[in-house]
């Protein structure tokens, strides 16, 4: 299976999963940080509960899209109970593939003039 095809086999992602991957795009994060980031970026529209977050993290971890990171913040900022996760190459590819899929869908919506207000042609 080529890399492209492998990443596409995970599509489509659930919105929660996509937002979690997106939240990790700019570096490793711990669970609470991911939750905050998703909430902030969506203006509070996507609120993950602890169960949903870790259910998704478990799924992403077992399919190899994220791993636990060894890099930790500076000592005084660190909480040793926290684990940090980062995207793997696969995780990044899947996120990109999902973004592309959405992009294409949006492009088609434009082509169909979906965003224009309906009126007399």
């Amino acid at each position: 299976m080529t890399k492209n095809k492998e990443s596409e086999s995970y599509l489509p992602l659930t919105p929660a999963m996509f937002h979690i991957l997106l939240a990790m795009a700019d570096g490793e994060k711990h669970g609470y940080a991911i939750l905050k980031e998703v909430s902030r970026r969506t203006d509070g529209k996507v609120q993950l509960s602890a169960g949903t977050l870790y259910g998704n993290l478990a799924r992403l971890e077992s399919s190899g899209m994220i791993v636990e990171s060894n890099r930790r913040p500076e000592f005084e900022l660190d909480d040793e109970r926290r684990r940090y996760y980062r995207l793997t190459d696969l995780g990044r590819e899947v996120a990109v593939a999902e973004a592309r899929r959405m992009e294409e869908a949006v492009a088609q919506a434009y082509a169909k003039r979906l965003f224009r207000k309906p009126g007399i042609a």
Binding site: S49, Y54, L57
Partner: protein, 884 residues
């Protein structure tokens, strides 16, 4: 305060997280708690109580949304893994599934019978309200005296506990207009009989009050079975007329398939249509008792209250009509639930069989657990590797349970098929024990039972195999660890399982052995007559053409003369019944009370009762019943001559111990009529080979006018003559209905169906158990030998002889066998009491059975151990020492 609150909600959160699979908890529970703590702090700071409540709601919903998915993921992995392992170990899988199929199948089959017969409510509307009312006269041996018409009217009008009270009696009439004259078993019932039972017809209607008015047009209801068998389920049957008792009878409906009690009937008619029941004598005479009575309890009335009510009425009637209820008869009336009445005969047998099937299942469980353990020895390293890779102990347990559940589920499905397949046989078997047999089916309840059995079984053997690995799985990683630690523990568990299997097998074998011995006794017992080469044909004269005693006696005489001329016939007789007649066994024998002349009853003594049989002169010759004194009946005994009887030896021993009874007289009715004893014949087991012969009185057919059976002793196989004799009967009178043509040997065979099937089923279960247990003991010894090859090699190098090794291995196997037999012995002593009511001339603790079963089981175990022992004895020490 804040800290307390925090710890309380944190504890609650931790409890919530428990719904996740164990591995998930290990990985993420701590972090989740951390995240939740932060969320809560934030919610408290920003939004106060409402934000906190919202957070809790979302968190709980999230957990319950995600957790099932996690469990499902793990289940999928475990199932896939289990199926891979099962495919890899085909031999193990096959044997395990086969064992479980037999175990679960046997239980499902027996349970389907128990469920339908003993546990299900009666298939009548509010069946628990139905009762059977019984009038007894125990002092004259009448267990069920029946009711007369005046009595029924009294009980109906005087009771306070019943919403309705209905009567029933069975007759045989001849039905014309449907091919040959046909003898139909007829239930004669009150008009509201079926309404009381809540039975709706599947075609037409049931009876209504106008059908019971004197002079109403005669109507018939057909039973479902009769409609199916005789009319092929003809849906246009309603409105057709047939002739019975010289009157046209119109079919008004067809009943659904419901159990009919006390016996199955072909048709039902209202009381006025029965020529006997509607006669003036029957309607007015309080002493003409022949009806059975059923009732429906008023709401919130118990059976005990109804029974008390009936007893009160009985007492009142006895005071009012002392002549009809002589004190020395001990009349009394009680009530019992109809369900109890329908099923009490089947209960002991079914409970014994269910217990036996349960034992088979336990043995199957122990066997599969043992097989799993043997396999675990080989999987030790695999399990250790998985533990080292981070699989928790509970994760492994879960994996093992999944594997066992899949095995049990497949075994359960196959067992269900097996049970389904054997259903026909079981219904036939149960029909010998209860009228409810036709209700037996595999329904939702049985399916749930099978599923529960499969689930229970998988938990038992899954846990057994997991428990025996102990906590120390990692020892499996060390080199050469096969014999140490968990291995030793496993061998102990295996030995315990083997001992249990042997013990259970022993109990089952004892049960089967006792039943077989009992059956053997029944076959050996002298029935008092010679059943070989005798044919019996049930006859029903058209009553309307043979009204008087003379007419019947004449008809019987003509029949005998004609039948005697058939080639191949040795002797013929006509009688009211014959020994072990199937109908006799379900209806009961007709009886008569009597007193001996010159032997007045002591005050308070019981009036003796004897079975009563009508017989033509050659009856005793035809059946091979020996004449002990006096003479048999002959042509001199007719309606005009002296009234005579013949008694059996049991009666002579009881009432004429020191005198010759021939020439003495007895009376059935306080001296109104006297009968002279002309002969004494041998005792016959009329009512069952396991019943002691009752005292019996024979009257000549020519005087009693009771002719219901033609008997013929033949030179060849009697079945060959059946058609010709039937034709001979119709030559004499084409209006005689013929039914139940059967040889006396067949009748004897049939009377043994229930004990034979019980013995066969128990025998089958016991054989299965023996096979499984003996294979198990052989298997464990083989495994033990292969685990100890090095040790045996060392022993031999140190000078042990092969014969010594052989003795050592066999001895170890025998210790297990003897231990199992010992425990089984105690168990059997405690349990075979359950069998007591089913046994004939065998004590539940019969020494012969106990000793021979013990011997057989130990011998079988010995043979099973010999194979691995010989292998051990033939080990080459040099090779053994190199092996691992």
């Amino acid at each position: 305060m804040a800290k307390e609150k925090r710890s309380a909600s944190e504890r609650f959160f931790k409890v919530l997280v428990r719904v996740f699979p164990f591995d998930f908890q290990t990985n993420y529970a701590g972090e989740m708690a951390g995240v939740f703590r932060e969320q809560r702090r934030e919610a408290e700071e920003s939004g106060g109580v409402s934000a906190t409540v919202k957070l809790w709601a979302e968190t709980i919903a999230g957990i319950f949304r995600v957790a099932p998915r996690e469990h499902w993921e793990i289940l999928k992995q475990d199932c896939a893994y289990a199926l891979r392992m099962m495919a890899k170990n085909r031999g193990f899988t096959l044997i395990a599934i086969l064992t479980l199929t037999l175990g679960i199948g046997a239980n499902t089959a027996i349970f389907s019978v128990v469920h339908s017969v003993l546990l299900s409510p009666l298939p009548y509307r509010d069946g628990q309200q139905l009762i059977f009312i019984r009038q007894q006269a125990p002092k004259i041996g009448q267990d069920d005296a029946g009711f007369s018409v005046p009595e029924i009217n009294d009980y109906r009008s005087q009771n306070h506990t019943l919403s309705s009270l209905v009567e029933y009696h069975a007759m045989s009439f001849t039905l014309f207009g449907h091919g040959d004259p046909e003898r139909v078993r007829t239930g004669v019932v009150s008009w509201n009989y079926f309404d009381t039972f809540g039975v709706q017809p599947i075609l037409g209607r049931t009876f209504q009050p106008s059908d019971e008015k004197m002079g109403a047009p005669a109507v018939l209801l057909l039973s479902y079975e009769y409609w199916k068998s005789s009319f092929h389920g003809d849906r246009t049957i309603v409105g057709k007329t047939f002739e019975m008792n010289d009157k046209p009878h119109t079919v008004i409906g067809v009943l659904p398939p419901v159990p009919q009690y006390p016996v199955e009937n072909d048709v039902y008619m209202p009381t006025v249509a029965c020529p006997f029941r509607s006669s003036k004598d029957h309607i007015e005479n309080r002493d003409m008792r022949m009806m059975e009575v059923f009732g429906r309890l008023k709401p919130d009335v118990s059976v005990a209250q109804a029974a008390a009510d009936m007893a009160t009425i009985s007492g009142r009637l006895q005071r009012e009509y002392p002549k009809s209820y002589p004190a020395e008869a001990g009349f009394g009336t009680g009530a019992s639930s109809l369900r109890e009445e329908l099923t009490h005969g089947a209960r002991p047998t079914l409970i014994v069989l269910l217990a036996a099937a349960g034992f088979v299942l336990l043995i199957a469980c122990a066997n599969v657990a043992n097989l799993t353990l043997a396999r675990m020895a080989r999987r030790e390293r695999e399990l250790a590797v998985r533990t080292a890779l981070g699989a928790g102990r509970s994760r492994l347990l879960r994996q093992l349970l999944t594997e066992s559940f899949i095995l049990a589920l497949i075994g359960g499905a196959a067992g269900l098929l097996l049970a389904y397949d054997s259903l026909g046989l079981l219904v036939e078997f149960a029909a010998k024990l209860t009228p409810r047999a036709h209700e037996i089916r595999i329904d939702m309840g049985v399916l749930l039972f099978t599923l529960a059995a499969a689930f229970g079984v998988s938990i038992i053997f899954g846990t057994l195999s997991a428990a025996s690995t102990g906590g120390d799985v990692s020892s499996g990683l060390k080199e050469g660890s096969a014999g140490a630690g968990s291995g030793r523990r496993r061998n102990l568990v295996r030995s315990v399982l083997i001992v249990a299997q042997i013990a259970f097998s022993f109990i089952l074998l004892i049960g089967a052995g006792l039943m077989l011995r009992s059956l053997y006794h029944m076959l050996q017992v002298n029935p008092g007559y010679v059943p070989q080469r005798v044919l019996a044909i049930r006859l029903t004269f058209n009553w309307s053409k043979h009204k008087t005693g003379e007419e019947i006696a004449l008809g019987a005489k003509q029949l005998l003369d004609r039948a005697q001329t058939e080639p191949g016939v040795n002797s013929v007789a006509i009688s009211s019944t014959y020994p072990l007649e199937p109908e006799l066994l379900s209806y009961g024998q007709s009886t008569t009370t009597f007193q001996v002349e010159g032997h007045p009853l002591a005050t308070g003594a019981e009036t003796p009762t004897a079975n009563h049989v009508s017989a033509s002169p050659d009856y005793f010759k035809t059946l091979g019943i020996p004449l002990l004194r006096g003479r048999v009946f002959d042509d001199r005994d007719d309606q005009k001559s002296l009234q005579v009887v013949i008694i059996n030896d049991a009666l002579r021993r009881r009432y004429f111990a020191n005198e010759d009874p021939v020439g003495k007289r007895i009376t059935p009715n306080d001296g109104k009529d006297w009968y002279t004893i002309v002969g004494v014949v041998g005792d016959v087991r009329e009512m069952g080979l396991d019943h002691t012969p009752a005292i019996e009185v024979y009257s000549p057919v020519s005087q009693s006018a009771d002719a219901r059976v033609l008997l013929a002793r033949t030179i060849v196989d009697p079945r060959i003559l059946a058609t010709r004799l039937g034709k001979a009967v119709h030559d004499v009178d084409p209006q005689i209905a013929i039914s139940h043509v059967i040889s006396l040997e067949e009748a004897r065979h049939e009377s043994l169906t229930a004990p034979r099937l019980t013995a066969s089923l128990l025998g089958l279960f016991a054989a299965l158990a023996l096979l499984i247990a003996v294979a198990g003991i052989g298997g464990i010894m083989a495994l033990s030998v292969s685990q100890r090859i090095r040790e045996i090699g060392i022993r031999m190098t140190l000078g042990a002889q092969p014969s010594g090794i052989l003795r050592m291995i066999v001895g170890q196997g025998l210790v297990l066998a003897v231990l199992g037999v010992g425990i089984g012995f105690i168990g059997a002593l405690a349990l075979t009491r359950l069998l007591k009511s089913l046994l004939f001339e065998v004590a539940p603790t019969d020494a012969v059975t106990f000793v021979s079963v013990a011997g057989m089981l130990i011998a079988a175990a010995l043979i099973a151990c010999l194979v691995p022992a010989r292998r051990a004895a033939s080990i080459d020490p040099t090779v053994a020492l190199r092996s691992e």
